[in-house]
């Protein structure tokens, strides 16, 4: 049986290192992009809506005057269009005749962050929302 030459072995090792490096780069970069809206959600929204979006953040004590929206409730979330979600994030609950306990975030979040949040909420509810 023919043994691989030193050159062939060296080439294989270099290839293995390159493949490993590319895989590490891919796997470490992907979550960073994918998790950005999630990071924004967890930082700003989770205090009322909970880290998983069930409406159970630490602010929601028994005295909390309203129930923050449970984003996992696809039936309710389907009643809202993406534009509705964007409006309520930017201008607060009263902009859609809901509670002012949802404050306006228009001076806090960038347009990109708001768009990312809308997509993230659709990921949580696994629903497309009202179309048109």
């Amino acid at each position: 049986m023919k043994q691989p030459s030193m050159n062939e072995r060296g080439l294989k090792e270099v290839l293995a290192i390159v493949v490993f490096t590319v895989l590490v780069a891919l796997f470490s970069a992907a979550p960073a992009f994918a998790s950005d809206p999630e990071k924004v959600f967890k930082f700003y929204c989770a205090q009322c809506h909970g880290l998983t979006g069930k409406g159970d953040g630490p602010n929601v004590t028994k005295d909390f005057p309203v129930s923050p929206r449970n984003f996992t409730n696809a039936k309710e979330m389907d009643k809202l269009s993406d534009a509705d979600l964007k409006n309520v994030i930017l201008d607060g609950g009263p902009s859609v005749s809901k509670s002012p306990m949802m404050p306006p975030w228009s001076k806090t979040l960038t347009a990109e962050q708001v768009d990312g949040l809308v997509k993230h909420l659709r990921g949580i509810c696994k629903c497309k929302g009202k179309q048109g």
């Binding site: 953040g57 602010n59 002012p100 306990m101 001076k107």
Partner: protein, 225 residues
């Protein structure tokens, strides 16, 4: 006689008002560094946080404007006997804050208080906010832009009310400089460029922010008659 008592009283007030005690502040800085306080609190401005990650990397609140933010009496007492201000741990929505901040003792208390009270911001205008009962401020705080959603306070009949993600504002009038409360609302990017609290500047008028600052600065125990 009355004149001399007044003069002595005025001199004492002036001495008290001069919060910086250079010798004490220098000693306090040494204590602050020796005890490793800088591991959790940075003391040189301006604010460094630019991203959510920057904010989440911090282990404790920044103190570079502590002298503009806190009241000296409160700060000294707190350093000697720290009680949790936040219901939840810093930068954490899952874990209760059970305390455990290191205590200072003896001369270290006054020295570190002097050091921190010397860390001021020129962005806080003095003498703008007089604490007082303020129905308009109360209406904004509890209903219009409900600060109460995230901050605890004593509501009607002294009932502990409000949310838990932000620092408690119970007796905030003893802890916070009223003028800082207003400056914090008006210039959020100066003090905390990245924070969980919404920016209200541009949404509330200056007058409404003044009303809120007056209302919050009045959160203190009633004086016994």
């Amino acid at each position: 006689m009355r004149l001399s008592i007044t003069a002595i009283f005025s001199a004492a007030l002036l001495l008290g008002a001069a919060s910086s005690n250079p010798a004490g502040a220098a000693a306090g800085k040494d204590v602050f560094e020796a005890k490793g306080c800088g591991g959790c609190h940075y003391t040189e401005g301006p604010a460094r946080e630019k991203t959510i990650d920057d904010q989440l990397a911090k282990k404790g609140p920044e103190l570079w404007y502590a002298g503009s933010k806190f009241q000296k009496d409160w700060l000294g007492k707190w350093l000697a006997d720290p009680k949790p201000i936040r219901p939840m741990k810093f930068n954490n929505l899952m874990q209760e804050n059970t305390g455990g901040h290191p205590k200072l003792a003896g001369g270290d208390v006054a020295a570190v208080t002097d050091f921190l009270m010397g860390l001021t911001s020129t962005e806080v205008a003095a003498g703008k906010v007089k604490p007082k009962k303020n129905p308009k401020g109360r209406q904004i705080f509890t209903k219009k832009m409900p600060c109460s959603g995230c901050h605890q306070y004593l509501g009607r009949k002294k009932k502990l009310s409000g949310g838990r993600s932000g620092p408690s504002l119970v007796e905030a009038g003893l802890r916070l400089n009223p003028d800082w409360i207003l400056a914090y609302l008006q210039k959020p990017k100066v003090f905390k460029p990245v924070k969980m609290m919404p920016v209200f500047a541009g949404l509330l008028s200056d007058k409404d922010m003044l009303n809120v600052a007056r209302y919050v600065a009045n959160f203190k125990p009633k004086k016994k008659k």
